[in-house]
Subunit: 748 residues, 2 copies
């Protein structure tokens, strides 16, 4: 094809080291000359960032509760749209009609061995100006709970993970027909009622243990920033493992004029919990816990409430009654565009949600105001005559808290054009004092790493890269310590629980990042009425210094994505990260094999039986099927091919700027090849074969199909998924192989 | 010498494997024929053990508080002596006059930021029949505290270990002139006021955190067996690192007629604390902790009380006033002898203390009643005409709780004859349901291991060896798991905090064991009024099944020591254990070197500074002198020599029974060669060069002189002590080399 015949520059600027004597480090995707210009652009960008802006927007956006479907949520969307417009963006608000249940009835009472009625309310605090807005606050509840009215004995089941139920079983405790009392933590909360229901529980109560959130961490609010005794964590309990977004409209956007038959009946929506589930405060949990009898909980299950943690069942018996208004509400996404001057058909998307459970200062407004600051600065640059090479799109999503509603429905509505045009998505969801933290696809490692080197930490006046390296050297995981201390490039973090990047990454196959600062805040008030402007200003980011740092960081990432000569994907760290991931997968399967064999041996040779205390009996674990050898070579070979291709590509002559547009068109689509091919059985919503939710924890894992097959001990399925995933990586490598050859003159 | 010319048996019975087809495993030190007879003897011994005896003695001995110097303590000594006499032992009570301070004044009050007066009292409990004996109970206090009246700001200093003060220093907190609030745990309590005083503290308060002792572990007494909120731990705070025993009479027995000038003035006794120190309950600690301000304590310092643990200093300000009656009291040791028929000059000593802080059911009566059961059974055997080959001595020590007073003063009083005659000492100090646990010198490993194989666990009806192996396979340290799972012989445990074996092992150089069962009890009431008969019968060893198991186990050990053809020392596990210990010493020095270098590097390259949170500042650690290479070859060579000698000895022809008496005379003295030579500078009380107290934790460590030099970073001293300790092991090996040669016909 004609457009692929491109001239070649003799300099290797894509991955070039800085020329000797040069003061400036290189920027991936930029020639040295353009790197200098880019840094000048970024300096101008920085000059438009003002902490006072972020503080003012924070105050405005958190002034009243603003959940999806709320009046102030709509006001906020309009306010945000107004800002974007005032900065020159082509802005619109898109509406979706989504399921958002809110409680009509919440009742939790203990009826034996003594009576206690849970308060289920967070008291206003004099020092917190918005905590008294009780009329507009959503009460403490879990969106996605079933309606229900159950009375049953209580069982304490720790985090409610599969291994927790296995431990209960070893102690002869069956949760069938019981209400399980769980603590928050140990994975996405949506899995708690799901797994509880799978084990036969009739209801589920989830409390915030002070160990994770409250006084154990530091002084409770308002003395310190941590969750007060009566504070509780709202949150969605949708099961996001089949799909994200509106429970009633998988695969299609929940646009206002969606045809009647296109919505699932609520009973058919697999993401809605099957049993009633209610979050409670530590103060409401203590009487329940203290009333439990039966065996003392295993040591690792005991939290920080001042009582002996028992397992039950009973004598604590509780009545749990929940009823919801299952209404459709409008979600308002704000979308603001600045068209690219050279390659307007290539889009860089930057998003953050604007809805909150209550006032939501930390979650999500802390990072939303950084996004607004970025957009304002970009607007100022544009007002001065500058235009980005590529199109930049800012998005403020609604309904994230209820299951990524706004982002998913928008992505589904615009799937075709996004598949064609969207080059990268940069997300954030919260920000605080501390070190920078970016999850992301590894092709963007070099981009992020170079940006880290150019942003100055506001506390320490060194690059945020240097600060991150220092923190990880001292406090990181063993792997992080090793890499950081050795001065190696720090890999991006794995994705954790899904947020608004999910539809772009996992459904559409778009390279995504999720970025934020944190680690020095006093928090714990997550999803409570205390996540407020007053709290934020005292305990999270006083002075908005890290709000500015986030704007500088995400702003540079967006500007470099938008301005690079060619899209700044680096395949070498991508290949390296996959090599490590395959190694780790192999190690984890080997460990599972050894652990299975050892456990089975110790059951067979009576070790468990002999070690057991007959006054506190614990049955041996179940004997499990042995883990057969699993041949990872399809993955290993594909990744080795990818590594060779990536290194060859890095060393190959690169096209001249004039050729870059053609190259870009291919790079933009590169990640799409990793989506699950349509011809495979099933029609999964999570199509990305490298990143997807664990069926056990709902957190994002690598090689999800393989991982989930291993987790359910489906060895045949695992072998098949190893082959399929290997083919996807093969395709990616082949695409890479073709890329430089096709672009060399006379080769096309 | 004539008596060393001995005939030689062709069979290797000392370490012989069982002959093929034999049903009975061998017994170390016995010929196969004598092993059969020994097992028959042990079966008869077992037939005299009755759980009801132990229960009755327990009830009698714990009926009233019986600390050293108390009326009931003396009654108990007389009761015990009466039992021994009734069983035919040559019994006497030996009196010592020892320092035992008891409180005249105890006052602890918080004067700012609010007033609170600590209750310092444990309430009687209706369900516990002895808990109301308030007239005779010693109050909550630490024996060995200084008198004092101080008012100062409070600082929380975790366990009060050296590294805890280093952490405070990094947070800019100096404890000079302050009162430190500490929690129990992390080493012997005597180090707490010692280290606090060394850091300039004016006073010291020590509380029982519910994490270690109370509701976190299980239901508090009387619902469960754990320490109630208002329970507290009495205990000695003598600094046992210079010497054990009476603070005023190091090296000499505190006999009643001790010449006036032989006692130290109290001010000159280095083991008495320099500052006032008081133990308190969790209930008394909570208001103090909750009133502390300043930084939040590091995560590892936070216990289970329901408050945020702060460091201070202040605003909590406390007044601590303590005054003691520094009186001499009488300690009454009960000593009961059964003379050996063949080698009466070789003594086997079995001891347990009889004094308690209050009623002392678990500590120490649980194991004392097992010792009594053993003595009764031995008496019954003797009444049937049997006599042991060697002399058996039973001892019930007084004053252990106040610093091993009874055992040490007796050992010092009888040092010369004990040095000549004492072949081994078998100690116990408490017993409970669970698995067997023996600390000891490794020459006794085979003896103990074989006994474990012959005692049946009362719950599981397998050998206690099989049960121990099962528990360690599942729950042991990584080393224990590896050895247990591989079916290897389990090494004896290291000695921990010193108890009554200390003078025999460390001062006199006698092979010692310390044995007990445990792990399935509900305890935590240690050194409180709740360690009672009622508590014991419900939560520690209902039915006294493990009391019988301990009698069977310690009884066999004593009987085999008393009856063996030659003293059953096995040098192969001894050499193996030292080889491992030298390896571990090297690894720990290497780790210290690496950690020092890494820390110094991270201070120098500003890593600590960059990682620090400026709102919660923590200074970098102090730069420390680098750890030079330390040449362990003197130890390695000596241990290699020992290993070769031990293996050669194990394989060598062994003397006939008629020759054994002469061999025994040498074996009996073998351990003495490990005592520190008199010509070395200083005159340490702890003379054993392989086992002695750490100067930091006061727990027994291997190679104490080397270890302590390393801990104080005295590299030259460490090198010297490596040489000295190596020489001691060399001497032991040479002694071993000479042994078989001297005994072979024509070689002497």
């Amino acid at each position: 094809m004609k457009r692929l015949v491109l001239p070649v520059l003799p300099v290797l600027f894509l991955l070039a080291a800085a020329p000797a004597g040069s003061a400036e480090p290189p920027i991936h995707g930029f020639s040295p000359a353009r790197a200098t210009a880019q840094r000048a652009l970024e300096a101008r960008f920085d000059s438009f960032l003002a902490a006072e802006d972020q503080r003012a927007w924070m105050q405005r956006l958190t002034a009243r509760p603003h959940a999806v479907g709320s009046p102030y949520g709509k006001e906020n969307a309009e306010f945000i749209a107004g800002l974007f417009r005032s900065w020159g963006f082509d802005t619109r608000i898109e509406e979706f009609r989504v399921l958002f249940p809110t409680p009509k009835l919440r009742r939790l009472e203990m009826i034996a061995p003594r009576r206690f009625t849970a308060g289920l309310a967070e008291p206003p605090i004099a020092e917190d100006r918005t905590s008294g807005q009780t009329a507009e606050q959503l009460p403490i509840y879990n969106a996605g709970s079933a309606d229900g009215d159950v009375t049953a004995d209580l069982v304490y089941a720790n985090f409610g993970k599969p291994e927790d139920y296995a431990e209960l079983e070893r102690r002869g405790i069956d949760v069938k027909g019981k209400i399980v009392l769980l603590r928050y933590g140990g994975g996405f909360r949506g899995m708690k009622p799901k797994l509880a229901a799978e084990h036969g529980a009739a209801g589920c109560i989830v409390f915030s243990d002070p160990g994770g959130f409250g006084f154990f961490q530091g002084d409770p609010y308002p003395l310190g920033g941590w969750l007060p005794e009566q504070g509780a964590q709202r949150g969605s309990v949708s099961d996001l493992t089949p799909y994200s977004g509106d429970p009633l409209t998988p695969f299609v956007g929940a646009v206002p004029d969606l045809a009647a038959g296109k919505r699932l009946a609520r009973e058919d929506a697999p993401t809605i919990a099957r049993i009633p589930v209610l979050p409670i405060s530590a103060a409401d949990a203590l009487p329940l816990l203290a009333a439990l009898g039966g065996a003392v909980a295993p040591e690792g299950w005991r939290g920080r409430l001042p009582t002996t943690y028992h397992l039950g069942p009973g004598p604590a018996r509780v009545h749990l009654a929940l009823a919801f208004d299952w209404r459709l509400v409008s979600a308002w996404d704000v979308i603001a565009r600045l068209a690219g001057a050279e390659r307007p058909e290539q889009w860089i998307l930057r998003g953050n949600h604007h809805d909150a459970w209550v006032n939501g200062a930390s979650d999500p407004v802390s990072a939303l105001v950084a996004l607004l600051a970025e957009a304002k600065a970009v607007g100022k640059l544009a007002a001065g005559g500058w235009r980005p090479k590529r199109t930049i799109v800012y998005a403020a999503w609604d309904g994230e808290e209820a299951g990524l509603l706004g982002a998913v429905e928008w992505a589904e509505s615009h799937a075709a054009e996004l598949s064609e045009h969207l080059a990268a998505y940069v997300n954030s969801d919260g920000n605080a004092r501390g070190t920078v933290y970016t999850s992301g696809v590894a092709t963007l490692t070099t981009l992020v790493d170079q940006v880290y080197g150019d942003v100055v930490d506001p506390e320490k006046k060194v690059s945020v890269a240097a600060r991150l390296r220092a923190v990880e050297t001292l406090y990181g995981s063993p792997d992080e310590q090793r890499l950081a201390a050795a001065g190696k490039d720090l890999p991006l973090k794995p994705f954790s629980v899904g947020t608004d990047y999910t539809p772009f990454l996992a459904y559409l196959g778009v390279p995504a990042l999720d970025i934020g600062y944190g680690g020095e805040e006093e928090y714990g008030v997550y999803h409570s009425i205390y996540d407020s402007f007053d709290h934020f200003n005292r305990f999270v980011d006083p002075g908005y210094l890290y709000g500015v740092a986030l704007a500088q960081t995400a702003g540079r990432i967006v500007l470099r994505l938008a301005e690079a000569d060619v899209l700044p994907l680096d395949f070498v760290p991508f290949a390296d990260s996959l090599q490590k991931a395959v190694q780790r997968l192999g190690q984890s399967i080997d460990a599972l094999r050894e652990e299975t064999a050892e456990t089975n041996l110790r059951v067979a040779d009576r070790t468990y039986e002999l070690a057991d205390d007959p006054l506190h009996p614990v049955k041996p674990p179940r004997v499990r099927d042995p883990v057969p050898p699993l041949d990872l070579s399809p993955l290993e070979k594909a990744v080795a091919h990818l590594a060779a291709s990536a290194r060859a590509r890095a060393a190959a002559p690169q096209p001249a700027p004039g050729a870059a547009a053609g190259l870009d068109r291919i790079l933009l689509q590169a990640e799409r090849v990793l989506l699950r091919p349509a011809e495979l059985p099933g029609r999964p919503w999570y199509r990305h074969q490298l990143y997807g939710p664990s069926a056990v924890t709902a957190t994002m894992v690598l090689f999800p199909a393989v991982r989930n097959a291993v987790d359910r001990r489906d060895w045949k399925g695992a072998a098949e998924e190893i082959a399929v995933t290997g083919q996807a990586i093969e395709s990616y490598a082949r695409q890479l192989d073709r890329l430089p050859l096709a672009l060399l003159p006379g080769q096309s």
